[in-house]
Amino acid sequence: MISVTIIIVLGIIMIVAGIVALHLKNLLAAIITAGAISLLASVIYLILGSPDVAMTEASIGSGLTTIIFLYALNRVRKENKDD
Protein backbone atom coordinates (compact mmCIF):
# COMPACT_ATOMS: atom_id res chain seq x y z
CA MET A 1 0.00 0.00 0.00
CA ILE A 2 1.95 2.90 -1.28
CA SER A 3 -0.51 5.52 -0.15
CA VAL A 4 -0.32 4.30 3.44
CA THR A 5 3.42 4.50 3.33
CA ILE A 6 3.30 8.01 1.98
CA ILE A 7 0.89 9.06 4.70
CA ILE A 8 3.07 7.48 7.37
CA VAL A 9 6.15 9.25 6.09
CA LEU A 10 4.34 12.55 5.72
CA GLY A 11 2.68 12.05 9.04
CA ILE A 12 5.95 11.58 10.83
CA ILE A 13 7.31 14.68 9.17
CA MET A 14 4.23 16.64 10.14
CA ILE A 15 4.29 15.54 13.74
CA VAL A 16 7.94 16.38 14.02
CA ALA A 17 7.29 19.69 12.31
CA GLY A 18 4.48 20.39 14.71
CA ILE A 19 6.66 19.79 17.74
CA VAL A 20 9.50 21.76 16.20
CA ALA A 21 7.22 24.66 15.29
CA LEU A 22 6.14 24.99 18.89
CA HIS A 23 9.66 24.93 20.22
CA LEU A 24 11.47 27.10 17.73
CA LYS A 25 12.66 30.31 19.29
CA ASN A 26 12.51 32.06 15.97
CA LEU A 27 8.91 32.99 15.30
CA LEU A 28 9.44 33.36 11.58
CA ALA A 29 10.76 29.84 11.32
CA ALA A 30 7.93 28.58 13.50
CA ILE A 31 5.34 30.15 11.25
CA ILE A 32 6.91 28.72 8.13
CA THR A 33 7.11 25.28 9.74
CA ALA A 34 3.46 25.44 10.70
CA GLY A 35 2.62 26.44 7.16
CA ALA A 36 4.53 23.41 5.93
CA ILE A 37 2.31 21.18 8.04
CA SER A 38 -0.72 22.52 6.21
CA LEU A 39 0.95 22.04 2.89
CA LEU A 40 1.72 18.41 3.68
CA ALA A 41 -1.82 18.00 4.94
CA SER A 42 -3.12 18.99 1.53
CA VAL A 43 -1.10 16.13 0.03
CA ILE A 44 -2.77 13.79 2.45
CA TYR A 45 -6.17 15.11 1.42
CA LEU A 46 -5.33 14.33 -2.17
CA ILE A 47 -4.44 10.80 -1.25
CA LEU A 48 -7.65 10.50 0.72
CA GLY A 49 -9.64 11.37 -2.39
CA SER A 50 -10.59 14.92 -1.58
CA PRO A 51 -9.03 17.19 -4.15
CA ASP A 52 -11.39 20.00 -3.24
CA VAL A 53 -10.18 19.99 0.32
CA ALA A 54 -6.61 19.66 -0.83
CA MET A 55 -6.90 22.78 -2.94
CA THR A 56 -8.53 24.70 -0.18
CA GLU A 57 -6.00 23.61 2.41
CA ALA A 58 -3.11 24.44 0.12
CA SER A 59 -4.39 27.88 -0.74
CA ILE A 60 -6.03 28.88 2.52
CA GLY A 61 -4.47 26.70 5.17
CA SER A 62 -0.88 26.91 4.09
CA GLY A 63 -0.85 29.91 1.81
CA LEU A 64 -3.09 32.59 3.14
CA THR A 65 -2.87 31.70 6.80
CA THR A 66 0.88 31.77 6.67
CA ILE A 67 0.86 35.13 4.98
CA ILE A 68 -1.45 36.54 7.60
CA PHE A 69 0.80 35.15 10.30
CA LEU A 70 3.77 36.79 8.65
CA TYR A 71 2.00 40.10 8.36
CA ALA A 72 1.04 39.93 12.01
CA LEU A 73 4.62 39.17 12.95
CA ASN A 74 5.78 41.97 10.76
CA ARG A 75 3.47 44.43 12.46
CA VAL A 76 4.56 43.30 15.86
CA ARG A 77 8.18 43.78 14.94
CA LYS A 78 7.48 47.16 13.45
CA GLU A 79 5.77 48.26 16.63
CA ASN A 80 8.91 47.29 18.39
CA LYS A 81 11.05 49.39 16.10
CA ASP A 82 8.77 52.39 16.24
CA ASP A 83 9.26 52.87 19.92
Binding site: S50, P51, D52, A54, M55, T56, S59, I60, G63, L64, I67, I68, Y71, A72, N74, R75, K78
Partner: protein, 225 residues
Amino acid sequence: MIKKILIIFAMLGLFIVFLPLITNFEFSQNLSELASKYVRGSVDELNSQNVVTSVIVTYRGLDTLGEVTVLFLATAGIGFLLKKKNKKSKKRVASEILQTASSFLVALIVLLGVYIFTHGHLTPGGGFQGGVIIATAFLLLLLSDVNMKFNHTILQVVESFSGAFYVVIGIIGLVLTVGFLNSKIIPLGEYGTLFSAGTIPIIYSLIGLKVGSELTNILDTMRGE
Protein backbone atom coordinates in the same frame (compact mmCIF):
# COMPACT_ATOMS: atom_id res chain seq x y z
CA MET B 1 5.64 23.19 38.14
CA ILE B 2 2.14 22.23 39.24
CA LYS B 3 0.94 23.70 36.01
CA LYS B 4 3.30 21.50 34.02
CA ILE B 5 2.02 18.41 35.78
CA LEU B 6 -1.54 19.50 35.22
CA ILE B 7 -0.85 20.04 31.54
CA ILE B 8 0.58 16.55 31.29
CA PHE B 9 -2.46 15.19 33.08
CA ALA B 10 -4.72 17.08 30.76
CA MET B 11 -2.96 15.79 27.70
CA LEU B 12 -2.98 12.23 29.00
CA GLY B 13 -6.63 12.59 29.79
CA LEU B 14 -7.45 13.86 26.35
CA PHE B 15 -5.48 11.01 24.88
CA ILE B 16 -7.59 8.58 26.85
CA VAL B 17 -10.75 10.36 25.74
CA PHE B 18 -9.78 10.03 22.11
CA LEU B 19 -8.27 6.57 22.29
CA PRO B 20 -11.49 4.58 21.88
CA LEU B 21 -12.32 6.61 18.81
CA ILE B 22 -9.12 5.41 17.20
CA THR B 23 -8.93 1.85 18.44
CA ASN B 24 -12.51 1.07 17.63
CA PHE B 25 -12.52 2.81 14.33
CA GLU B 26 -13.85 0.78 11.46
CA PHE B 27 -14.00 2.07 7.96
CA SER B 28 -17.37 1.67 6.48
CA GLN B 29 -17.55 -0.26 3.29
CA ASN B 30 -20.36 1.73 1.80
CA LEU B 31 -21.40 5.30 1.63
CA SER B 32 -23.92 6.36 4.15
CA GLU B 33 -27.47 6.58 2.89
CA LEU B 34 -27.30 10.32 2.88
CA ALA B 35 -24.03 10.41 0.95
CA SER B 36 -25.38 8.03 -1.64
CA LYS B 37 -28.35 10.26 -2.13
CA TYR B 38 -26.04 13.18 -2.65
CA VAL B 39 -23.96 11.32 -5.19
CA ARG B 40 -27.02 10.27 -7.15
CA GLY B 41 -28.76 13.57 -6.72
CA SER B 42 -25.82 15.57 -7.88
CA VAL B 43 -26.15 13.95 -11.27
CA ASP B 44 -29.87 13.42 -11.45
CA GLU B 45 -31.15 16.56 -9.91
CA LEU B 46 -28.47 19.18 -10.18
CA ASN B 47 -26.50 18.23 -13.22
CA SER B 48 -23.28 18.91 -11.40
CA GLN B 49 -20.20 16.77 -11.86
CA ASN B 50 -18.51 17.72 -8.63
CA VAL B 51 -20.56 16.19 -5.84
CA VAL B 52 -18.74 18.18 -3.19
CA THR B 53 -19.73 21.35 -4.99
CA SER B 54 -23.34 20.23 -5.16
CA VAL B 55 -23.33 19.55 -1.48
CA ILE B 56 -21.68 22.81 -0.64
CA VAL B 57 -23.60 25.13 -2.89
CA THR B 58 -26.99 23.52 -2.94
CA TYR B 59 -27.74 20.86 -0.40
CA ARG B 60 -25.88 22.57 2.37
CA GLY B 61 -26.16 25.99 0.86
CA LEU B 62 -27.09 27.54 4.16
CA ASP B 63 -23.75 26.40 5.58
CA THR B 64 -21.95 28.01 2.74
CA LEU B 65 -23.85 31.23 3.13
CA GLY B 66 -22.83 31.08 6.76
CA GLU B 67 -19.27 30.37 5.80
CA VAL B 68 -19.18 33.41 3.55
CA THR B 69 -20.64 35.37 6.41
CA VAL B 70 -17.94 34.15 8.76
CA LEU B 71 -15.27 35.37 6.42
CA PHE B 72 -17.12 38.62 6.00
CA LEU B 73 -17.30 38.97 9.77
CA ALA B 74 -13.61 38.32 10.08
CA THR B 75 -12.94 41.04 7.55
CA ALA B 76 -15.18 43.44 9.38
CA GLY B 77 -13.73 42.42 12.72
CA ILE B 78 -10.16 42.84 11.64
CA GLY B 79 -10.97 46.17 10.05
CA PHE B 80 -12.66 47.16 13.28
CA LEU B 81 -9.72 46.07 15.34
CA LEU B 82 -6.77 47.27 13.34
CA LYS B 83 -7.28 50.84 12.42
CA LYS B 84 -5.20 51.66 9.43
CA LYS B 85 -2.25 53.85 10.01
CA ASN B 86 -1.82 56.65 7.62
CA LYS B 87 1.67 57.47 8.46
CA LYS B 88 4.05 57.20 5.58
CA SER B 89 6.66 54.59 5.91
CA LYS B 90 9.95 54.54 4.20
CA LYS B 91 9.65 54.11 0.53
CA ARG B 92 10.93 50.83 -0.55
CA VAL B 93 10.56 50.22 -4.19
CA ALA B 94 10.81 46.72 -5.47
CA SER B 95 12.95 46.01 -8.43
CA GLU B 96 11.64 46.97 -11.80
CA ILE B 97 11.66 43.42 -13.01
CA LEU B 98 9.45 42.30 -10.19
CA GLN B 99 7.08 45.15 -10.84
CA THR B 100 6.75 44.39 -14.52
CA ALA B 101 6.54 40.72 -13.97
CA SER B 102 3.95 41.07 -11.29
CA SER B 103 1.60 43.27 -13.26
CA PHE B 104 1.72 40.66 -15.99
CA LEU B 105 1.32 37.82 -13.57
CA VAL B 106 -1.55 39.40 -11.77
CA ALA B 107 -3.73 39.27 -14.83
CA LEU B 108 -2.90 35.62 -15.34
CA ILE B 109 -3.50 34.68 -11.77
CA VAL B 110 -6.82 36.48 -11.63
CA LEU B 111 -7.80 34.62 -14.74
CA LEU B 112 -6.86 31.35 -13.10
CA GLY B 113 -8.95 32.26 -10.10
CA VAL B 114 -11.91 33.03 -12.28
CA TYR B 115 -11.49 29.75 -14.06
CA ILE B 116 -11.45 27.87 -10.82
CA PHE B 117 -14.58 29.36 -9.43
CA THR B 118 -16.56 29.17 -12.61
CA HIS B 119 -15.65 25.52 -13.02
CA GLY B 120 -16.36 24.59 -9.45
CA HIS B 121 -19.17 22.24 -10.49
CA LEU B 122 -16.95 20.44 -12.96
CA THR B 123 -13.51 20.22 -11.44
CA PRO B 124 -12.12 20.37 -7.96
CA GLY B 125 -12.15 23.82 -6.54
CA GLY B 126 -14.71 26.54 -6.48
CA GLY B 127 -15.50 29.91 -5.09
CA PHE B 128 -13.30 29.72 -2.02
CA GLN B 129 -10.26 28.40 -3.76
CA GLY B 130 -10.73 30.75 -6.70
CA GLY B 131 -11.21 33.65 -4.33
CA VAL B 132 -8.00 32.86 -2.54
CA ILE B 133 -6.14 32.74 -5.81
CA ILE B 134 -7.47 36.14 -6.79
CA ALA B 135 -6.40 37.45 -3.42
CA THR B 136 -2.96 36.01 -4.06
CA ALA B 137 -2.75 38.07 -7.20
CA PHE B 138 -3.37 41.21 -5.24
CA LEU B 139 -0.91 40.05 -2.66
CA LEU B 140 1.66 40.00 -5.38
CA LEU B 141 0.80 43.58 -6.21
CA LEU B 142 1.17 44.50 -2.58
CA LEU B 143 4.54 42.86 -2.41
CA SER B 144 5.84 44.44 -5.55
CA ASP B 145 4.73 47.94 -4.71
CA VAL B 146 4.96 48.62 -1.03
CA ASN B 147 3.28 51.97 -1.25
CA MET B 148 0.38 50.78 -3.23
CA LYS B 149 -3.05 51.71 -1.99
CA PHE B 150 -6.08 49.72 -2.88
CA ASN B 151 -9.18 51.49 -3.80
CA HIS B 152 -11.22 50.32 -0.88
CA THR B 153 -14.46 51.56 -2.26
CA ILE B 154 -14.23 49.22 -5.20
CA LEU B 155 -13.24 46.35 -2.96
CA GLN B 156 -16.13 47.12 -0.71
CA VAL B 157 -18.60 47.41 -3.54
CA VAL B 158 -17.52 44.09 -4.98
CA GLU B 159 -17.62 42.51 -1.58
CA SER B 160 -21.01 43.90 -0.65
CA PHE B 161 -22.79 43.37 -3.91
CA SER B 162 -21.51 39.88 -4.53
CA GLY B 163 -22.78 39.01 -1.05
CA ALA B 164 -26.08 40.72 -1.63
CA PHE B 165 -26.58 39.06 -4.99
CA TYR B 166 -25.88 35.72 -3.40
CA VAL B 167 -28.69 36.37 -0.98
CA VAL B 168 -30.93 37.66 -3.76
CA ILE B 169 -30.43 34.49 -5.77
CA GLY B 170 -31.39 32.63 -2.65
CA ILE B 171 -34.52 34.70 -2.28
CA ILE B 172 -35.57 34.05 -5.87
CA GLY B 173 -35.91 30.42 -4.92
CA LEU B 174 -38.06 31.49 -2.02
CA VAL B 175 -40.22 33.71 -4.16
CA LEU B 176 -40.73 30.90 -6.65
CA THR B 177 -41.71 28.86 -3.57
CA VAL B 178 -39.19 26.15 -4.26
CA GLY B 179 -37.05 27.02 -1.29
CA PHE B 180 -34.30 29.34 -0.21
CA LEU B 181 -31.06 28.83 -2.11
CA ASN B 182 -32.56 26.37 -4.54
CA SER B 183 -30.22 26.13 -7.49
CA LYS B 184 -32.81 24.84 -9.92
CA ILE B 185 -34.39 28.19 -10.50
CA ILE B 186 -32.70 28.44 -13.86
CA PRO B 187 -32.37 25.65 -16.44
CA LEU B 188 -29.92 23.01 -15.41
CA GLY B 189 -28.16 22.89 -18.79
CA GLU B 190 -26.25 20.03 -20.24
CA TYR B 191 -24.33 17.78 -17.90
CA GLY B 192 -20.63 18.40 -17.85
CA THR B 193 -20.58 21.80 -19.48
CA LEU B 194 -19.78 25.17 -18.07
CA PHE B 195 -23.33 26.40 -18.19
CA SER B 196 -24.95 23.64 -16.27
CA ALA B 197 -25.94 22.79 -12.74
CA GLY B 198 -28.37 25.68 -12.42
CA THR B 199 -27.21 28.55 -10.30
CA ILE B 200 -24.22 26.71 -8.90
CA PRO B 201 -21.64 28.40 -11.15
CA ILE B 202 -23.27 31.76 -10.59
CA ILE B 203 -23.24 31.37 -6.86
CA TYR B 204 -19.72 30.07 -6.88
CA SER B 205 -18.65 33.05 -8.98
CA LEU B 206 -20.23 35.43 -6.53
CA ILE B 207 -18.59 33.59 -3.68
CA GLY B 208 -15.31 33.76 -5.55
CA LEU B 209 -15.58 37.50 -6.01
CA LYS B 210 -16.65 38.01 -2.45
CA VAL B 211 -13.98 35.80 -0.96
CA GLY B 212 -11.37 37.33 -3.22
CA SER B 213 -12.23 40.88 -2.25
CA GLU B 214 -12.58 40.00 1.42
CA LEU B 215 -9.27 38.24 1.60
CA THR B 216 -7.58 41.07 -0.23
CA ASN B 217 -9.10 43.37 2.30
CA ILE B 218 -7.88 41.27 5.19
CA LEU B 219 -4.40 41.09 3.72
CA ASP B 220 -4.32 44.80 3.18
CA THR B 221 -5.51 45.52 6.67
CA MET B 222 -3.12 43.08 8.25
CA ARG B 223 -0.29 44.57 6.26
CA GLY B 224 -0.92 47.83 7.95
CA GLU B 225 0.73 51.06 6.82
